[in-house]
């Protein structure tokens, strides 16, 4: 092995080096200058993104004896994850400062989580995938428990950890079955072995697939493995919720694509049914339970479950159109989720967490511009044209229709209509109710600027979705 076999992994290597730099630098920064850690973390993300861009090509290269793959799909996912983590860091800064939580560990754990996600996106073997997933999960558990004094955070971290450990165990158990049957860990070799021995398509392999789907569904937060999600969204501090709600969704999609499509694509008929059950349940339960919530973080948690239903149904079709639709949906959803949680952070201040939906009352009277931004995010998530959520939903419904499931398409439309209710309720509160508290926002100009950009992006992507859609289709076609 020589350097050329390692060079495809340049983004991961760069990020690891930068993490070490941030880690050591943070040790020597005095508390009052902690903001240096923040800027260093942003710089790390920028350098990593730059490396991803300069090493980009349309080719698929393997490295490390086939346990690492660098293809257009992984590069697009990595770039988006890096960007969204950076946006999340920026939104978090003022909040952490006001609440005396500005510690280097928040950024360090965030960077470690990003590294785990990047490892997952480029994993070409079950072993690498699992290690990446553990890196991500371990950072997330620690991030949720980040505020040590809060019993609520500790409780949700505990729930998350115990359930997450069980899900990892299920995934690992499934992996061991698939390895036992096929005799290899590499995805393309698994696909090859199954193609050459149709006799393997039998109970033992199905058994392994079922367990792996349990693990995947848990990481997505799909029903019936969603129990942790609302509690964690509510219990964690808002910047942490923002982190969990955005980039890890792309990583979960990578987990799904790599294992089920790259590795077990031949067995599409076997996993299709399982994915469909999970997706339909997520769609229904997510949308219906979200209506009953009074806490906006919890409501967005259930809405995330509903959105996962859409993503899973897109993958369920098993067509390239469907995969592209799933990718487009995930990438646009995280932009909207980042914005919505960014608004929650913006409305919070020292010792006050704007987590009740009531706290959004009369936002229009307090600050019309950010009320408009929140309107963008809510309309986007609800799937109202011309915001981007509409195009994303339309794509998925198209793919499902193309695959020949008109019943499912009708169900998706109905679920979206139900879902629109709770998004519109937030808008109603903002525009037609009197404000209960009139304090001014305490955030810096750059945060406001990026949040505004975020809101405009939701509209702009909806009006001009063509390039991203084409990019998604190209990327899926090349991978």
């Amino acid at each position: 092995m020589n350097l050329s076999q390692i060079s495809p992994a340049a983004p991961e290597i760069t990020l690891t080096l930068m993490i070490c730099v941030v880690l050591l630098a943070d040790l020597f920064v005095p508390q009052e200058k902690r903001v240096i850690t923040f800027w260093l973390s942003i710089a790390s993300l920028a350098v990593t993104a730059w490396v991803i861009v300069v090493t980009a090509s349309s080719a698929t290269t393997l490295a490390f004896d086939g346990s690492y793959v660098s293809d257009p799909l992984s590069r697009l996912m990595k770039l988006c994850a890096t960007g969204i983590v950076g946006v999340g860091f920026l939104y978090a800064r003022d909040y952490l400062q006001q609440n005396d939580l500005l510690k280097g560990e928040y950024y360090l754990l965030g960077l470690f989580g990003l590294l785990g996600m990047m490892i997952m996106m480029s994993a070409n073997s079950l072993l690498t995938m699992y290690l990446g997933l553990e890196t991500l999960s371990l950072s997330l558990y620690a991030l949720v428990a980040f505020e040590r004094e809060s019993a609520k955070a500790a409780e949700s971290a505990m729930k998350y950890f115990v359930l997450g450990a069980i899900a990892s165990g299920a995934l690992l158990y499934g992996i061991s079955w698939v390895y036992g049957v096929t005799g290899t860990l590499h995805f393309h070799e698994i696909a090859e072995v199954i193609r050459q021995n149709p006799g393997l398509n039998d109970v033992p392999l199905w058994f392994g697939i079922a367990f792996m789907i349990v693990g995947i569904a848990f990481k997505f937060g799909a029903v019936p493995f969603h129990m942790w999600l609302p509690d964690v969204y509510q219990g964690a501090r808002s910047p942490v919720t923002l982190y969990i709600a955005t980039a890890p969704k792309i990583a979960a999609l990578a987990l799904l694509f790599r294992i089920l499509v790259d590795g077990l694509g031949e067995l599409h008929g076997v996993w299709q049914g399982m994915i469909m059950v999970v997706a339909v349940l997520s769609l229904l339960i997510g949308n219906i339970v979200a209506i009953a919530q009074s806490n906006i973080k919890r409501m967005l948690g259930y809405s995330a479950i509903a959105h996962v239903g859409f993503i899973l149904l897109a993958v369920f079709t098993g067509s390239e159109t469907g995969y592209a639709a799933a990718l487009f949906y995930t990438l646009t959803y995280i932009v909207m989720a980042a914005g919505a949680f960014g608004m929650v952070i913006l409305l919070s201040r020292q010792g006050f967490e704007a987590e009740a939906i009531r706290d959004f009352k009369g936002l229009n009277a307090r600050n019309p511009w950010f009320a408009l931004m929140m309107l963008f995010f809510m309309f986007g998530m609800a799937g109202v044209p011309p915001w981007v959520g509409f195009i994303a939903k339309l794509n998925v419904i198209n793919a499902v229709l193309e695959a020949g499931f008109p019943g499912l398409a009708v169900l998706m439309v109905l679920a979206s209509v139900v879902g629109a209710y709770y998004y519109l309720r937030v808008i109603w509160y903002m525009y037609f109710d009197a404000p209960e508290d009139r304090s001014v926002f305490q955030s810096q100009a750059d945060t406001r600027f990026v949040l505004s950009l975020n809101g405009i992006a939701v509209l702009a992507l909806g009006i001009l979705p063509g390039w991203l859609l084409k990019l998604c289709i190209d990327v899926i076609g090349h991978s």
Partner: protein, 200 residues
């Protein structure tokens, strides 16, 4: 034959120990059963000629992880009886799920057996074969990526553990041994030269 008898007897102890972990009323006893279970698994690995893994299981799990478990069990100060309440409440559900898994597993093994899926026993390894060396020869070359990720996970574990459990107590009086050793007489004692005084 002798090999098989050994395997089954150690496996039986392993199962008993595992059941003990679940049914022991005292959490410390449960941890001790877990230690026994780890030992038995180590023996099973040894029977499969995976010496290195067997030793690591004893060194790392029994030697370090179980100590941590004991600390955690003692740290929590669990009210044993309180937990028992939920235990019996959820038992039927647990038994149903466990039963389902057993049925599925049995079905898999039974189906395979019907097809004449032969389990060829352990093939004796050639003379001079070292499991440790075989492991090392692929771990640091073929699986080097996974190996380096393991280093990152360990680093992450350090950061996570310190950020979650380390706290500075305010108002703690600390002993700084370095500065104690470095102290010089002239910092502590001031020798004042005075002219001697005559009694009046």
């Amino acid at each position: 034959m002798f090999h098989a008898i050994l395997f089954y007897s150690f496996a039986a102890i392993l199962v008993v120990a595992a059941l003990g972990v679940i049914f022991a009323r005292n959490p410390v006893h449960a941890v001790m059963f877990l230690v026994l279970a780890f030992f038995q698994s180590a023996v099973l690995w040894l029977l499969a000629e995976a010496e290195f893994l067997a030793i690591v299981l004893v060194l790392v799990y029994v030697g370090a992880v179980m100590v941590l478990f004991l600390f955690v069990v003692m740290m929590l100060d669990v009210e044993v009886e309180e937990i028992r309440g939920g235990y019996t409440r959820y038992a039927p559900l647990g038994i149903v799920i466990a039963g389902l898994m057993v049925v599925e597993l049995a079905q898999v093994i039974w189906l395979r057996g019907k097809e004449g899926f032969a389990v060829d026993g352990f093939r004796p390894t050639p003379e001079g074969y070292s499991n440790t060396e075989a492991l090392g020869s692929v771990l640091y070359t073929e699986h080097v990526y996974a190996f380096e990720i393991a280093a990152v996970i360990l680093l992450l574990a350090i950061v996570a553990a310190i950020s979650l459990t380390m706290r500075r107590r305010p108002g703690l009086k600390q002993q700084d041994i370095a500065s104690q050793v470095a102290v010089r007489a002239q910092d502590r004692v001031r020798i004042v030269k005075m002219a001697s005084e005559k009694p009046e």
